[in-house]
């Protein structure tokens, strides 16, 4: 049983997810959706929109996974592991809280990574532009998108997981999803109200909202705008990274092992 000494909780969580089977549905769905959804559009009248529509569908699927399957599995996993006493058992066996949290996190991040990989795959296989310089720009853009997507999703999944260990899985699922929703749509909805206000308080409130809309590079793919300029990509990544670090610290504080 040597193999179980390294990261036992990770192995347990992964095998628990694999036997459930919905993860295979998620992976199959990513490719299927990217293939079928563009065919429903009136692409016959303008075939050159078909390829960008494939890329768009692939990333849209990734975001939908981040709104539904991924955080729900994370919260359910955290909830299950604590309820069944597995966390307490491992804690007593000498694993630290940080290690337990990271093991569970890694078992969810793997699926997030696979979803990203499938989106990148769809963008590069189904929708790579023919001209070599355009293809190069497309590749850079897709990699940038993958980085900002992962910077957004990893901490949110960690938050779902940690909340799952202290409360019911539905609540733990709704909090990161709500945060993602605010980050996506709150910016443009609250912008005119808060961002344009004279009051510094309202403005700073608006700035303190999560800014996940920065990670949505779909328009650049769909309208073939080319990659983000390097400096704004770095700024976006740093903002998302620091925000993510903050959420991760909160998640570690919330993580509970006692059943």
């Amino acid at each position: 049983m040597k193999s179980l000494r390294t990261w036992p909780l990770f192995r347990l969580a992964i095998s628990g997810l694999v036997v459930r089977g919905s993860c295979w549905l998620l992976m199959f769905g990513a490719v299927f959706f990217a293939w079928v959804a563009p065919l429903l559009t009136p692409w016959q009248e303008n075939p050159q929109i078909l390829q960008p529509a494939r890329a768009q569908a692939a990333w849209f699927y990734s975001w939908m996974a981040l709104f539904t399957w991924l955080p729900f599995q994370a919260s359910a996993l955290g909830n299950r592991m604590r309820r069944e006493g597995m966390l307490e058992h491992q804690y007593a066996g000498g694993f630290g809280r940080l290690s337990l949290c990271m093991q569970l996190g890694a078992s969810i991040w793997i699926w997030m990574f696979i979803v990203v990989l499938l989106s990148v795959f769809c963008c590069l296989i189904f929708a790579l532009p023919k001209r070599p310089d355009e293809a190069h720009m497309w590749l850079i853009l897709v990699l940038q998108y993958a980085v900002v997507y992962m910077l957004t999703s990893a901490p949110l999944l960690m938050l779902a997981l940690s909340l799952g260990t202290i409360t019911h899985e539905i609540i733990a699922f709704l909090v990161p999803t709500g945060l993602l929703f605010i980050g996506f749509f709150g910016y443009s909805w609250l912008g005119p109200l808060f961002g344009g206000a004279d009051s510094t308080l309202l403005k700073s409130l608006w700035i303190a909202l999560p800014h996940y809309h920065l990670a949505d590079l779909t328009p650049r793919l769909v309208f073939k705008m080319g990659p983000l300029p390097f400096d704004s990509f770095m700024t976006t990544s740093v903002i998302l990274f620091v925000q993510g670090a903050s959420i991760n610290i909160i998640s570690l504080c919330l993580f509970r092992t006692r059943s």
Binding site: P42, N46, A53, Q56, H213, D216, T218, V238
Partner: protein, 294 residues
């Protein structure tokens, strides 16, 4: 973990959260107030699909709730005359004739059942009340149709029908003619820019041509004396560019073989529209040259 450690962690997390947003303060370009549409639905292939789906409900709001008020002239007259949906109605008429042909040719029992369902669906939205709608209700329906129309146009700026309806709507419904003219001109410029975009398709090119014609109509209202206006030359140039773009795309479509994949009704609709636009273009050219020679 002791309480003080937890407190420190929360403080660090809060500090990081604020710190990440302080980066915004050093970035002057980051505070771009333009709200971006999530997932780039508007203007993409899915936007086009969504706009087509909205069109039916838009049509029913426009005709006071009746989805089939004008088809084939067999149903009773709509309570309001609305010439705005001529293109859509023509399309619907063709589709209706086609379905009629299909449903009576076989004479199988399944066709009669299909017919019954079809009739029931028509009766579902048929007006039974003879009482006129109140003014407030009319205004409500107009407002709802207006919102849907603008939304549908945002989703698919390359749809000629939606553009023409929106143009007509802006020009006819507005209180002040100057403001309406400005709004219509802005809309037309947007449509032209969209039509000359790299990824624009056949319909978008025709929309741009229609927009250029609308602009010329606005400018030529003041009589042929205005035809020396450099703006008119500019608009004619745009019109030509859009028509050339359409012709190039059409030729490409035939060479590359995707023209045949478009449905018959849609193909005929596109060609009829293109013919109409080029006829109008010839007329405008004659008018302008007459005005210039005078």
């Amino acid at each position: 973990m002791s309480f003080s450690h937890t407190l420190i962690n929360w403080a660090v997390a809060g500090g990081l959260w604020w710190g990440s947003h302080l980066i915004f303060c050093f970035q002057t370009s980051a505070d771009d107030p333009r709200p971006s549409a999530a997932f780039a639905i508007a203007g993409s292939a899915y936007g086009s699909l969504a706009a087509r789906l909205i069109r039916d409900s838009l049509h029913s709001y426009w005709h006071g709730g009746e989805s089939y008020s004008k088809i084939g002239g067999e149903t009773h007259e709509s309570s309001r005359e609305s010439p705005k949906f001529t293109l859509r109605s023509a399309h619907a008429k063709q589709a209706h004739e086609l379905s009629k042909k299909m449903s009576f040719s076989g004479g199988l029992w399944i066709d009669s059942i299909v017919n019954v369902v079809d009739q029931l669906e028509k009766k579902r939205t048929k007006r039974a009340s003879n009482l006129p709608l109140s003014n407030a209700h009319h205004r409500f329906l107009d407002a709802v149709a207006d919102v849907r129309l603008r939304f549908a146009y945002e989703l698919d700026p390359g749809d000629p029908t939606l553009y023409e309806i929106l143009h007509f709507h802006i020009v006819s419904r507005s209180d002040s003619s100057v403001a309406a003219q400005v709004a219509a001109e802005m809309l037309a410029q947007k449509a032209i820019t969209y039509a000359l975009h790299d990824q624009a398709g056949l319909s978008a090119a025709l929309t741009g041509a229609g927009a250029a014609i609308n602009l010329l109509n606005i400018r030529l209202q003041h009589g042929p004396t205005a035809s020396h206006d450099p703006l008119i030359k500019y608009d004619i140039q745009h019109l030509e560019q859009c028509l050339v773009k359409y012709a190039t795309l059409h030729a490409n479509a035939q060479n590359e073989g995707w023209w045949a994949k478009i449905s018959d009704i849609r193909r005929k609709e596109i060609e009829d529209h293109a013919q109409m636009l080029s006829r109008i273009y010839d007329m405008i050219k004659k008018t302008v040259s007459r005005g210039a020679s005078r």
